[in-house]
Amino acid sequence: MTGNVLLQIENLHATVEGREVLRGVDLVVRTGEVHAIMGPNGSGKSTLAQVLGGHPAYTVTAGSIRYEGKDLLALKPEERAREGLFLAFQYPVAIRGITNAYFLRSAVNAIRKHRGEEELGPVEFMDALEEKLKLIGWDDSYLNRPVNDGFSGGEKKRNEILQLAVLEPKLAILDETDSGLDIDAVKTVAQTVEKLRRPDNATVLVTHYYRILTHIQPDIVHVLSAGRIVKSGGKELALELEERGYDWTREPAPVA
């Protein structure tokens, strides 16, 4: 069974500070799928995530990205979010003075408004939030703290997952959400992704480590190297990377 094409990236080239980081990425993500994009440091994993999110510091110099058939690159970051794209940041940003609850409700309502739905008041929103909090094992004390302000690295990542659970995007891109987490937190991230998995949504997991894939079943694993996807395969590819490292993916496999 194959879903509809949700995301289609063709020959994507992108630069940051004048340096070319992506050099022809091709990728197709269908609804119902979980993709893992793996690769060594500097391979362009985070650049790909940020280009999808619409970070203003990254410039697309060639290629195209279509999301639900639309030109994603023509959309501003907030429009992408309202259309159901979610990027979990590798380094979530602290917002002083603004509580998590207020921030989350603002985000939910921005999306609801875009869809022509009624905005949620504080009380209704809190009710809807209860079960999401349980999903990541948090009590509501986190809701009254300023967004990511004074949060530990792990708490910031969990907060990204909370946003993921609350916003229920069609396409979730998790940019190294599993990095710097203890094993329990990695499990929470993986379980949340599995629970949110539906036939009409998709997840792209950008990761440096195999560890999270022991708790998530990716449909396709890609290896990104020097700005291009050089290999794609099943979960066994991830295992091979875990055992052999990334070096072998850089050169064509030796002829036997």
């Binding site: 619409g54 970051p77 979010a81 002083r96 921030f103 603002s106 985000a107």
Partner: protein, 435 residues
Amino acid sequence: MTEHYVRDFQTFASNGAAGAPAWLREIREGAIARFAELGFPTMKQEEWRFTSVAPIAETRFTLAPAAHSPLPAPAEVERLQLGAGPRLVFVDGGYVRGLSSLAGLPNGVYAGSLAAALQAGPSGELARAHLTRLAHWRDSAFAALNTAFLADGAFVHVPAGCVLAQPLEVVCVATAGGSDGPKVAHPRGLIVVERGAQAVVVETFASLGDGVHWTNAVSEVVVGEGARVEYYRVQREGRRGYHVATTQSRQERDSYLGLHAITLGGTLARHDITTVLDGTGAELILNGLYVLGGSQHADHHTVIDHARPHCASHEFFNGVLAERAHGVFTGRIIVRPGAQRTDSKQTNNNLLLSTEARADSQPQLEIHADDVKCTHGSTVGPLDPTALYYLQSRGLSPETARSLLTYGFAAEILGRMRSADLRDRLDRLVRAELA
């Protein structure tokens, strides 16, 4: 430029204010002499290097007649009150009984006119024991000038063990824009909360009328052993008002003081806050916010004096500066010899909303003890583009993201206020200022 104040003082001392007790008359004489000696500060002085008071020095301000008629309408004063509890109203420094409302105060609490208290009796003795003891008029020309013209003011005395359930508000109104030229008023506050007592006190400074005027205020706050005080000071005077203020507090052992200073108004504002932690185990939250636009200039000078061991002070000042506004923050922390186990934290964050806005931030630490924890940090800059992007990536428009981040600077300070009602009211006031 000090001469005419000395002449005005002679008139003041020989007229209506002559009825004051001898000890106070003596202090006033000393204070006017000290003012003449010190003169107005200049930018050559370290403490004044970012703030010129030349516009004040060069304007001929005459002493505002206290509580003159016609008095403001009650509705004009009521809208300046943050809550709905008891209030003391002062117009140009003089107490106005008709606009004040003291219902609901517990027995034994004195809240009213300092002038009346000084006439005689136990409240006069109480006032005498504290008045002018904290505010260092010998070191400050402005405090000296206020003290020289000390005739009336707010006197709040909460006896030992007494708990004020509702915030007690002092509303100081300056009438501005009369036909007889710019006026100066010297409002005075004395707040004494005795051992084990608890109180929330608000002082609000506002102008009626949009003319040029000068407020030169001094407040002294005494927090007794184990007492808990939240003191809110809100300056929302008109955009042509000059506002100079000295706030001085002293805390005894195991006491708590939350001192919240909000500056929204005035064309030129200077607020010196000096707090002394003078008993072991005392805790201070010094919380400040300035939201400025146009060509407003506000200068906050704070001194936290750790005189005893095992005290904690947490100071947070945030500034939001738009257009050509200029914010100045100087935060001095003194840890006296022997004040071991001091825990002191200071931060000052300034948000510049335009390229012409400016902020100067200077922490000054003087540590004379070795077993202490003191940290400080300050930032000056525009909105963080990464934070803007983060909010946009969650569906918020750039305009909403900007206003949310800006409001966050204010909300961070408001969030530390313990009285929820006052916090909500101040939140609305600040939001209106940011809009």
